[in-house]
Amino acid sequence: MKILCLLLPHFLLKCEALRRPDITDRPVIITRTSGSQKLVLDFSPELGGLQPDIPLQQALSRHGHAELLSEDMPYYRSVFSGLLDALESISPLVEGTELGCVYIGVDGLQLIYPDDKRLIDAVFRTVPDVFAPQAGIAGNKFLAYLTARRCPPGGRQVLTGDIAAFLRDLPCDMLPVSMKSREKLRLFGLRTLGQLAALPSGPLLSQFGPEGKRIHDLARGYDDTPIYPRMMEKAIEESTLLASVTVSLEALVVSWEKLLGGVFTRINQAGLGIRSMNVWTRTWNAEQWERTIKFKEPAMDVRSVINRIKRVLEEYPQPGPVEQLGLVISRLGFPGGRQNSLFREVRSQDHLMEDIRQLELRLGNPQVYRVKEVEPWSRIPERRYVLAPTSR
């Protein structure tokens, strides 16, 4: 197995630089909100002493002059997804494990790219220069990752020769294992992969359980983790800029209802429902809120999705007044079966809705509306209520 690991260090920061080139030469910290706390998500490389997930106060005590930006995960993901799309033109085996880290299966590409240099050239051509990618090629994912990590920005390396010598002096912190295991290794005084490789596997297994075997294998350069290519399901993304900044949950729900109406118009014809989706909002001061909603049975209509969204909104409050919102449908599915209600009222309501749907299908546009409260307290009269199609 031959794998290329492509690392894009400080990916989030580079994404921001892509849309705001003016921040390239300025010290910037990207923050995320966790509960009531603000944490560092990414930062300019010149800001020393910072790490992801440290509290923002701690970061500002060192670098008070840094410009603060709130995270924009949907944007970062769409940039990353675009990169993966481009890389899939080189190899069908592309796995984006996390934002800024890609594994590409490059076995069998010799006829297209006769040597590794041309292969990496092709990979680098798909990535904008601003990302300063680092590429490493090796026989498995772990070695490819380590090789890429040791490259300078824009650098490349193919791992050849003595693997044991390559691994010997690397720190144990590079192992892709749990924090708890890393801490335990530190307490045992095991600092390098060379020290780990020299140990017999038995003591490691007895101390670390199943992870001990993996630690031992990785320390000796064995990694049989396969590449998991992206699921080929096409995600549906919809977003909207609200007419006015709002804190009203009803207004948010109505906007999501509108977006879902569009989604269901597209997928219902194929008999599909929603299995999994992400809902997100962006506040007027660019703070991000995002939640994943999964359905045990595919949701086949707007109402069932909206009910879940309402519950999520009540459980996880918005960080501020919302200016933009959207959704990403990540999984679709066919319904297992559907049973009509036992109750006559519910059945007649279902029949009425079905009749309205048929009418609209025939005439092409929503024909029956109901009045919905959006912002009944608004000082702007036309913002208080909307007419919503009944069939949605």
Binding site: G262, T265, G364, N365, I380, V386, L387, P389
Partner: protein
């Protein structure tokens, strides 16, 4: 089952209720409404009330309106407003 006409059902089919309607108004020197053309031209008998709303001043299209609750010569009550951004007159129930 009705056959699919092939037409796309519009997703963005939500309509605002009580959207403002453009109306012709003659103003006096002080900017107050004196004649309103609402189906036919009518003089404004008197102004019952007047209030101003300013909102969303931080956006590219701020809202700045001066509302008048007027009584026309025929006795009809009407709420109109002047859009202070564009200068246009509108009729809208408040």
């Amino acid at each position: 089952m009705v056959e699919d006409t092939g037409e796309t059902v519009r997703a963005g089919a939500y309509k605002p209720v009580n959207a403002p309607e453009i109306i012709q108004v003659n103003e006096d020197a002080a900017g107050l409404p004196v004649v309103v053309k609402n189906k036919r031209r009518q003089r404004v008998g008197y102004i019952d009330d007047c209030w101003r709303i300013d909102d969303e001043w931080w956006r590219t299209e701020p809202v700045s309106r001066l509302y008048y609750a007027v009584r026309l010569a025929s006795g009809q009550k009407l709420v109109i407003y002047k859009d202070l951004v564009t200068g246009g007159w509108y009729r809208q129930s408040y």
